[in-house]
């Protein structure tokens, strides 16, 4: 069975400082990993995804994540936070071997607050 643990429910950073949102996963097979962002009262938008190619994945809006198999981690980072980054972020895992449907397991989310 697959699972995802987002280690922080809430992260607060100052504008212009680095962002680190932590995610650990558990998977029986080679996983696919995603980060989605949800702005208030909006649907989810894909930030980036790991597809077993390059371990450092670059996404939209300057975000990137590094897949570390030895640490079973997929932390999301951004060098410099912007006020518009304030949102809820979800780490998501998909087992490659779950059959034809793309069954995703979501973490509980990390709320990112960006202050002036």
């Amino acid at each position: 069975a697959q699972s995802v643990t987002q280690l922080d429910s809430h992260v607060s950073v100052s504008e212009g400082t680095p962002v680190l949102l932590r995610c650990n996963y558990s998977s029986s097979y080679s996983p696919s990993l995603f980060w989605y962002v949800q702005h208030p009262n909006k649907g989810l938008q894909l930030l980036l995804k790991y597809t077993s190619a390059a371990t450092l994945v670059k996404g939209i809006n300057g975000f990137e994540a590094e897949f570390k198999k030895s640490e079973t981690s997929f932390h999301l980072t951004k060098p410099s936070a912007h006020m518009s980054d304030a949102a809820e972020y979800f780490c998501v895992v998909r087992d490659i071997n779950t059959g034809t449907a793309s069954k995703l397991t979501f973490g509980t989310g990390t709320r990112l607050q960006v202050t002036l």
């Binding site: 995802v4 429910s9 696919s32 995603f34 989605y36 009262n41 909006k42 649907g43 989810l44 938008q45 894909l46 995804k49 597809t51 979800f90 998501v92 998909r94 490659i96 034809t100 449907a101 793309s102 069954k103 995703l104 397991t105 979501f106 973490g107 509980t108 989310g109």
Partner: protein, 114 residues
């Protein structure tokens, strides 16, 4: 190309009432999904479909029904609404071929059962 659309955006139901949440996608995706999101939680899969005429249960299917008569539409039916079904409901779709197939989400329907 509107992507995934959901209606209504908001709804308040009384206990025991029924309703259908509509979901339509115009990306010709074979796979469609329904999730619910409770406060402070991630999304949980209710039902999914791998193509027209084919549906299957997800993690939390009790109290819901779905149908998939066309590729575009995947309505979610609540027959006897209960307060436990108060949640935000998201519909999503993805392509059939290739992995991992990115899921595209609609804007959500906020449902309150009183």
């Amino acid at each position: 190309n509107a992507g995934v659309t959901q209606t209504p955006k908001f709804r308040i139901l009384k206990i025991g009432q029924s309703m259908t949440l509509q979901c339509t996608q115009d990306m010709n995706h074979n796979y469609m999904y329904w999730y619910r999101q409770d406060p402070g939680m991630g999304l949980k899969l209710i039902y999914y479909s791998v193509g027209a005429g084919i549906t299957d249960k997800g993690e939390v299917p009790n109290g819901y029904n779905v149908s998939r008569s066309t590729t575009e539409d995947f309505p979610l039916r609540l027959e006897l609404a209960a307060p436990s079904q108060t949640s935000v409901y998201f519909c999503a779709s993805s392509r059939a071929q290739g992995a991992p197939d990115t899921q595209y989400f609609g804007p959500g329907t906020r449902l309150t059962v009183l």
